[in-house]
């Protein structure tokens, strides 16, 4: 009897110790946003699409300012070279040099795949800081690749988000997501993202390889590899204009 009381006391004390060290889920989200977001960023990346007819690699360079402005130029393969995308607020335009046309992507087209990848235009447009549009709770703890994580359950606080619910595995030390599951309002799992090769860049942790898998689509998923990323650069204002699409 005495032995049992001692064990219970130890467990209670230990639990209190663990929870005393915890921070709130929304604070975790803020720290994650601090790692992933910046005033602006310039990324050179490769997208390796593991499709039904083999792998394809699409190279691009993107300029992003805050959550509202983004410009992407595709550099390879030859067929896609010169294709550009511009996001201003909730509008998206695409320019193709072959047609010399600037076409607005809207409505259901936003849910279509970008270049046959597992990413949609909506995914490309979604730059909001997580803590500003989601409310989080800690649902549990897990270990991914020998890293202890919190499992956060995110519920959208704003309407019309592409994913009203998310589940996020957050690295407890580096405050970086290691896995994300994106859900529809109905609770159906839509996409899974695994974040790999986390590196320290300009004093922040950043995953340089992300594996996207659209679970409703057959295939082996899409790897998004960051070749180079720089934060808080001087980006000329004309980059984020429709005129730059045709340049």
């Amino acid at each position: 009897m005495f032995f049992r009381k001692v064990i219970i006391t130890i467990i209670v004390l230990f639990s209190n110790q663990v929870f005393a060290q915890d921070i709130s889920a929304n604070e975790i989200l803020k720290k994650i946003d601090a790692n992933l977001s910046a005033d602006n960023q310039v990324i050179s990346s490769k997208m390796v699409i593991h499709g039904k007819r083999g792998d394809r690699t699409v190279e691009s360079k993107s300029w992003t300012e805050g959550t509202e402005k983004s410009f992407t130029e595709y550099l390879a393969p030859a067929r896609d070279k010169g294709t550009k995308m511009l996001k201003l607020g909730d509008q998206l335009w695409m320019y193709s040099p072959g047609t010399d046309r600037t076409i607005q992507i809207s409505g259901h087209m936003l849910r279509q795949s970008v270049m046959g990848s597992d990413l949609s235009y909506e995914d490309m447009m979604e730059d909001d800081k997580l803590h500003e549009v989601y409310d989080a709770v800690i649902a549990g703890r897990d270990t991914l690749e020998n890293t202890v994580c919190w499992i956060l359950e995110l519920t959208a606080t704003e309407k019309d988000l592409a994913y009203p619910k998310r589940k996020l595995w957050a690295d407890q030390k580096r405050f970086i997501p290691l896995r994300e599951e994106l859900y529809a309002k109905s609770g159906t799992l839509l996409k899974r993202i695994d974040f790999k090769d986390v590196r320290s860049i300009d004093g922040r942790w950043y995953p340089t390889r992300m594996i996207f898998k659209d679970v409703l689509k057959e295939g082996q998923g899409t790897e998004f590899i960051v070749d180079d990323i720089t934060f808080n650069q001087d980006i000329p204002a004309y980059i984020f204009s429709k005129a730059s699409l045709k340049k």
């Binding site: 699409v58 047609t99 010399d100 046309r101 076409i103 046959g116």
Partner: protein
């Protein structure tokens, strides 16, 4: 005898009018329903064969599993070799390449920016080869509402409804946005050479017709197409022949597995046509059976009423010594004449109404807005050879059966009772 009975029928309207009216109604409805269902079914098979299924179709295993989504990434490979083989193995059939795909048509303003957009259902066929039969098969020239058929690469046809929605007229440039066979974004400018209306609601909403070489170019296809369609030389679908061709082809490729292996489907295997055709055939059989039964019951009752009305006449004929069998037979002969007259008039009326619906049809296109199967927008009847007898025979039989049932009472009359009746 015949002359005597005919005179009786014509002079005594009470004896013949009601049964003839019933038979006319039943027969004309049967003939009309038969022609109507046949017309719709025939059009449905014809439309599906020409625009979508062929009489047989070769696709990949993976494409078959997702055919509704028109997955160009699961297109057939080595098409030149495959086409040469099927043309050699099945020389009496015509084999054509098709690509079906989804995309977005974007109409520009005068600055070249998006003015209007609409989803398009792309159908790539051989429009430009000198010996192509596809233009005739798809009835393209007669379906053109404005403009003309494409005469060179880079020209397309779009549905008149889509053209109206996008406010595009022939001669203007539009941009197609779709994806290549490898999943890349594909954008291409085309001149709208004309607008079309096929009378098939599923296609008239947003069809886009272009030459197959244009589609191959934009979708980065070299020796690939999404479908190879086979047609019997007489243009008529024959399920037995199609099954033979299908079994032979699939047996030759039974060792090829994987999602890119070719597989042959026949018309009935596609668009849920088998279950639909079987269902409609069952409905026709049930309709005709119910009609014969219902008419027999009605005519039986009519015969009973007639029998009651002619109770005295029958009694007198039996009392003066006419045999029961002879009286019974005369009633049956009468019913044959009544059935013949009613069936003939009913068939003429039914055929007349069917002819009207064959030529004019009824427009149900508003109800077909969300139809996924290729139903014609205007439902038309079709007069076939069975229409001349499909109502006539049951009309005649039901009249005779009705009379035979009601006439049984004659045998139950007793001679002693007859004299009592005559005395009163």
């Amino acid at each position: 005898m015949f002359k005597f009975l005919l005179k009786g029928i014509l002079r005594d309207h009470h004896r013949s009018l009601f049964p003839i009216v019933i038979v006319v109604l039943g027969v004309s409805l049967t003939v009309l329903a038969h022609c109507w269902i046949n017309g719709i079914l025939g059009d449905m098979i014809d439309f599906n064969a020409k625009y979508s299924t062929g009489h047989v179709k070769i696709v990949t295993n993976g494409y078959e599993d997702n055919m509704d989504q028109m997955p160009v990434e699961l297109a057939l490979g080595n098409v030149d070799e495959l086409l040469a083989k099927v043309r050699k193995d099945y020389p009496k059939m015509e084999w054509v390449e098709r690509i079906r795909f989804g995309g977005l048509i974007d109409a520009p303003d005068n600055k070249g920016e998006t003015r209007a957009q609409g989803p398009a259902l792309g159908l790539a066929v051989d429009l430009l080869s000198p010996d192509t039969k596809e233009v005739e098969r798809l009835n393209i020239n007669k379906s053109i509402v404005r403009g003309k058929s494409p005469e060179k690469n880079g020209e397309i046809l779009i549905s008149d409804e889509l053209a109206d929605k996008l406010k595009v007229i022939p001669g203007q440039i539009v941009t197609l946005m779709t994806s290549t066979m490898y999943g890349s974004m594909a954008m291409q400018n085309y001149i709208v050479s004309g607008t079309i209306k096929f009378g098939v609601t599923a296609m008239d909403k947003g069809a886009m017709i272009l030459d197959i070489t244009d589609a191959k170019y934009v979708m980065d296809m070299q020796d690939e197409v999404s479908e190879i369609l086979g047609y019997f030389s007489n243009g008529i679908y024959n399920n037995v022949s199609a099954t033979t061709v299908q079994n032979r082809f699939n047996a030759a490729y039974k060792d090829s597995t994987g999602e890119f292996a070719p597989v042959m489907l026949k018309l009935r295997d596609q668009n849920e046509l088998a279950s639909m055709l079987d269902y409609i055939s069952r409905m026709i059989s049930i309709f005709i059976s119910v009609f014969v039964l219902a008419m027999s019951i009605v005519l039986w009752n009519a015969g009973l009423l007639g029998g009651l009305r002619r109770y005295g006449e029958m009694g007198l004929r039996l009392a003066i010594g006419e045999f029961k069998g002879r009286v019974y037979r005369s009633l049956i002969y009468e019913s044959v004449i009544v059935g013949f007259i009613g069936s003939a008039i009913g068939t003429i009326i039914g055929l007349g109404a069917a002819f009207y619906l064959q030529e004019v049809g009824l427009d149900f296109s508003d109800l077909m807005q969300n139809a996924t199967v290729l139903w014609p927008g205007v439902f038309r009847a079709k007069i076939t050879l069975p229409a001349y007898y499909i109502g006539f025979i049951p009309g005649l039989i039901s009249t005779v059966i009705g009379t035979m049932l009601s006439g049984i009472g004659i045998y139950k009359r007793q001679t002693a009772q007859l004299f009592k009746e005559l005395e009163t």
